[in-house]
């Protein structure tokens, strides 16, 4: 899609949360809707309309690819949530999309019937998916960073095998969403952060980050570009400046970071045709000490700093805004607080 479209949205002062979970859980039967593509698509559209945006973000669910991969590897459905691989599985003969994935694709197709909105797909990043497949993903990543190869260490071998399988399922799901009509996709790579990857180690061995995070992402980027689909890259983990600098090379239409980043400083690292999105601390919106007034103040401050930085920017959430039972009204009130801020600037 024409990059100018996103730049125009930013210039027009768009602000929006990633709010599909919040709106979905305002319905009486969210679990049923999540499995019904047409109704899920209607909720995605309802969310876009509720927050006045043409960007129809899907329901952010980082469990879908793990489920599909484990089922394809023969793991019983009841064990999927808690399963971690201890030995490398063989490549599955075929990976079927799960009912939730099929519903997501149908939702995209439903959204795509509307010419005034952009249907957006979603996938977890290959590295983040890999971390969900191992009981302790951090140690093998560190060992790989120490220079141990798959042949030398079984944990490193498992890491590399699972990374390869993760990439396989992510590409499979992305292709299905693109076929359904996605014109942009948000890739969520929240585990590519300084919890899983030691900045101390990366300072002496930056090649590790390239090999296990950037190269799989670059292959996704090439696949999306070949399909004419825009990349929205999301990482709400705690990042180093070098990580931001590397993500800025992905050619994303939008970069979305967590609230630990100072976006007005990151602006200097990011190309001028890449929108920075975020990054209000929405994970803390259910905390009573963060009042709507404080949210509004934070939003105002962020907008002003981004204006000073002179970088294209869309004010929003640091991640998807989750609906918390008993706190729904309070959280929505805080989202509305930052949405109101738009009109004061």
């Amino acid at each position: 899609m024409n990059r100018q479209f996103y730049l125009d949205l930013a210039a027009a002062g768009l602000r929006m949360p990633i709010g599909t979970h919040l709106i979905l859980h305002g319905h009486a039967d969210p679990q049923t809707i999540a499995l019904d593509g047409r109704r899920l698509g209607a909720v995605v559209l309802e969310t876009a309309e509720r927050f006045g945006t043409p960007l129809a973000f899907p329901l952010m669910d980082l469990t879908l690819e793990k489920t599909a991969l484990l089922l394809a590897c023969g793991v019983p459905e009841a064990e999927v949530d808690a399963h971690h691989f201890t030995v490398a599985p063989p490549a599955p003969e075929r990976i079927l999309l799960t009912p939730r994935m099929r519903a997501s694709c149908e939702a995209i197709a439903h959204v795509a019937t509307r010419p005034d909105v952009v249907p957006i797909g979603m996938a977890i990043g290959p590295f983040s998916l890999t971390t969900k497949l191992m009981a302790d993903p951090i140690t093998p990543v560190y060992l790989a960073g120490m220079g141990l190869s798959a042949g030398e260490d079984p944990e490193v071998a498992l890491l590399e095998r699972l990374l390869s399988l993760s990439e396989l399922i992510v590409h499979r799901y992305l292709r299905a969403q693109i076929e359904a009509g996605a014109r942009a996709v948000i890739i969520c790579e929240p585990a590519a952060n300084l919890v899983y990857l030691s900045p101390k180690q990366l300072s002496t061995n930056p090649a590790l980050f390239e090999r296990i995070v950037m190269e799989p992402m670059q292959r996704i980027t090439r696949m999306l570009a070949a399909s004419g689909v825009d990349l929205i890259f999301h990482d709400c983990g705690e990042l180093t400046t070098d990580m931001v600098r590397r993500f800025a090379t992905l050619g994303a239409a939008i970069l979305s970071f967590g609230s630990s980043r100072r976006l007005w400083e990151d602006a200097a690292l990011v190309p001028k045709d890449t929108i920075l999105y975020g990054n209000l601390p929405t994970k803390r919106f259910c905390a009573s000490e963060l009042t709507p007034g404080e949210v509004e103040r934070l939003a105002q401050e962020l907008v002003e700093k981004m204006q000073t930085a002179g970088h294209p920017f869309i004010l929003g959430s640091e991640c998807d805004v989750l609906s918390v039972p008993g706190k729904e009204t309070e959280i929505l009130g805080k989202v509305d607080a930052f949405m109101r801020c738009a009109y004061y600037v």
């Binding site: 949530d81 808690a82 302790d136 560190y142 030691s198 101390k200 994970k283 803390r284 000490e289 609906s323």
Partner: protein
């Protein structure tokens, strides 16, 4: 440098093979297993925690150090059991019901073990009744509750409520996790809150009266 000092250094640097060899050497030299724990391993992990708090090292370095300590403990445990030496304090820990995340919880386990707590790890997605049952069985001084998701914070509220009203032995409750704050901990009646695995050790020691 003494063998115990070398062992401490090997653990701090995450050198598992060296830690194992130095532990064996210390035993061969006649060091008492309890002294190896108290004078080499616990100080090594305490230093790891301090360096983590100062941002000199990060989570992966902590885990690698813990891995080295585990190698040493694997050698020492039969000797400790034979000598009737057990950790003075016991802690039960788990991620609350509905939450499958365990990285943060696992880090706290590592650091508490490094501080010579006996740690009963209940895993993830732990229902309140399982915490109560573990408290009754293991009689810990401390229970740790972890949550990563804002959506599972209500489960933490419910778990604290049930622990408090279940009639199980008195126990200090400590909470943590990305969305958790000190104010939230106060609101739900927890005894303590720690923002990260490094400070979780200090808070745990203070709560059980070991500080």
């Amino acid at each position: 440098m003494t063998t115990l000092e070398q062992l401490s250094e090997a653990v701090g640097a995450g050198k598992a093979k060296d830690a194992k060899a130095l532990t064996q050497r210390a035993l061969d030299e006649g060091a008492r297993p309890g002294d190896i724990v108290d004078k080499a391993l616990v100080p090594a992990m305490a230093e790891v925690g301090e360096r983590f708090k100062r941002n000199e090292i990060f989570v992966p370095e902590m885990l690698i150090a813990a891995r080295a300590m585990k190698e040493a403990m694997n050698l020492l445990e039969p000797h400790l059991v034979a000598a009737g030496i057990t950790p003075k304090y016991t802690a039960v820990i788990g991620t609350v019901q509905g939450d499958l995340h365990d990285i943060g919880k696992n880090l706290v386990v590592v650091m508490w073990k490094g501080a010579n707590f006996r740690v009963v790890d209940l895993g993830t997605n732990v229902p309140p009744a399982k915490f109560v049952s573990a408290i009754q069985e293991h009689r810990p001084q401390l229970v740790g509750l972890s949550a990563l998701l804002t959506t599972t914070m209500p489960a933490m509220v419910e778990t604290v409520r049930i622990i408090r009203t279940s009639g199980c032995p008195p126990v200090k409750v400590m909470v943590g996790g990305a969305p958790i704050t000190q104010q939230f901990a106060n609101e739900i009646g927890a005894d303590g809150y720690a923002a990260d695995a490094g400070s979780a050790v200090d808070k745990a020691r203070a709560l059980v009266g070991a500080a």
